[in-house]
């Protein structure tokens, strides 16, 4: 058999594997980036000495422990504090003044991973004096990362980079004010955690759970195909108050979405958008 043929067969096996994972456990990866899924599954196949994806499918159906492994393989949890400092600088400049006009603020970090992004935003809000009137929802579908996020304990060797990021992002205080250092880890200051609720939420299979003024969903949609991106953007649209703000990752874009017309652009480069107050009129709107 040629490698080309094997490649084709693997595509069939992957389809079946994802279907099995979905039907047995409800995790739906069927509309994630194919190249990504395939690379991760073949990697697992080689590491685990499986003879093929089909053998992994058998294991996933019968061994619920293996699901956690696959979940970790497919959901990439790479994150950092003040990732893309210029994004946080823009939030401070463009978004905070809007939020300041509200008596009470609700925000949602979707796909928050181990929490670094959430705490970064909490620090920014604290410095802008709006943290105490903000309710932050932080969600992910991966229980393991949510646990780390709740604890807020991170390796100390990353702090140097995070401090640099914080400063580049326009931080106003000393970054060390926001954590307590131990031998090889830091723990995030309790005052930042007060208004955060961490919860399990799957963007593909769960629905709207609150109406919020700001959604931050960075580096999650990049793993979805266009169709799924559109579905999730609709979920965000339905979760935002009129005038609510949506922040995506640096390489994610609303421009090509079917729902683009419902948003205006606040910062093209940093991918910050605002839900319009009124529905745009469409041709099939009847008076």
């Amino acid at each position: 058999m040629t490698h080309e043929e094997i490649n084709e067969i693997q595509n069939i096996e992957i389809k079946l594997f994802l279907e099995a994972l979905f039907q047995r456990y409800g995790y739906d990866f069927r509309n994630y980036s194919q190249a990504h899924i395939k690379r991760r599954l073949l990697h697992r196949m080689n590491l685990g000495n499986f003879s093929g994806i089909s053998q992994m499918q058998h294991k996933i159906l019968y061994d619920s422990g293996f699901v956690q492994q696959i979940l970790l393989d497919l959901s990439i949890n790479v994150t950092e504090m003040f990732r893309d400092p210029s994004f946080y600088a823009s939030v401070r400049k463009e978004v905070v003044p809007i939020l300041k006009t509200y008596p009470f603020i609700k925000t949602w970090h979707a796909g928050c991973s181990t929490g670094e992004e959430v705490y970064s935003m909490a620090i920014l809000f604290k410095e802008e004096n709006i943290l105490n009137r903000t309710q932050i929802y932080a969600t992910d579908f991966n229980h393991k990362v949510l646990k780390t996020a709740k604890e807020g304990i991170y390796p100390i060797d990353l702090i140097k980079d995070y401090t640099t990021n914080y400063q580049k992002a326009g931080g106003k205080e000393s970054f060390s004010d926001y954590y307590d250092a131990n031998y090889n880890s830091v723990i995030i200051d309790g005052s930042l955690k007060k208004n955060i609720v961490f919860a399990d939420h799957n963007l593909v299979t769960d629905s709207v759970f609150a109406e919020v003024n700001l959604i931050v969903c960075r580096n999650v949609l990049i793993y979805f195909n266009r169709e799924l991106q559109d579905k999730v953007i609709k979920l965000f649209l339905d979760s935002l108050t009129p005038g609510g703000i949506l922040c995506l990752g640096s390489k994610e874009n609303l421009q090509y979405s079917a729902h683009f017309e419902y948003f205006s652009v606040i910062d093209t480069h940093e991918k910050i958008y605002r839900k319009e107050y009124r529905r745009p009129s469409t041709s099939n709107d009847n008076p």
Partner: protein
């Protein structure tokens, strides 16, 4: 390490001669991977591309996460093809070259669109040459041409072997002519090569492609 120099002189001489382009070689895409010294090497290659060169080119050059778009603009200015930063979910088009953005892996979908990810570093690199070559090999199979240039680490060697396994054609810059030999050397050790030559040889080969 320096295995390639141990080969006989006949072989040495042979590598400078541009081989006949194999009849079955009709690449639908070209992937290029390079690290230290790559800007200079890419500059030479892109400058030398003939007008009307239509095969899409995908490039991973290791760069620092905070770099700006200088390299894209520079290559675009000096080359006959349109050079852009690779955008997630866009279709790969003829007469274009795409550079992986800093801090993102560049993957190729089997429907010939671009995918970016923020996965862990691979071979200490993001973007990683291995990731581009591996996914492009699956998308293009035998219709892929890979080029490994100068660099100070071993990223690309695994991807190059995947590319050859899937029937792709691999050109490696002659390590003795590379700014830093490690990357081409490791690629040759792990993947072998279909053609080893200097930058001029690579340019000639490219310009003869249909």
């Amino acid at each position: 390490m320096r295995k390639y120099t141990e080969k006989n002189t006949d072989d040495q001489a042979h590598r400078m001669i541009i081989p006949e382009i194999p009849i079955h070689l009709k690449p639908k895409a070209i992937v290029i991977g390079t690290s230290a010294g790559g800007v200079e090497a890419l500059t030479k290659l892109f400058k030398a591309l003939r007008p009307g060169f239509s095969i899409p080119i995908l490039v991973v050059q290791h760069i620092s996460p905070s770099s700006d778009s200088y390299l894209v603009q520079h290559l675009n200015r000096i080359s006959s093809v349109t050079v852009k930063e690779a955008l997630d979910k866009t279709v790969i088009e003829p007469f274009h070259a795409y550079l992986a953005p800093p801090n993102y892996h560049l993957l190729i979908e089997e429907d010939f669109t671009i995918a970016l990810t923020v996965d862990e570093k691979v071979s200490y690199a993001r973007p990683s040459i291995d990731v581009l070559f591996e996914t492009a090999a699956r998308a293009f199979n035998r219709n892929l041409l890979g080029i490994i240039l100068t660099g100070a680490n071993s990223d690309g060697a695994y991807g190059a072997s995947m590319l050859r396994k899937m029937g792709g054609y691999l050109i490696v810059q002659d390590p003795s002519t590379a700014h830093i030999a490690t990357m081409p050397e490791t690629a040759i050790q792990q993947a072998g090569a279909d053609f080893i030559t200097n930058l001029e040889g690579i340019s000639k080969f490219l310009n003869r492609l249909p």
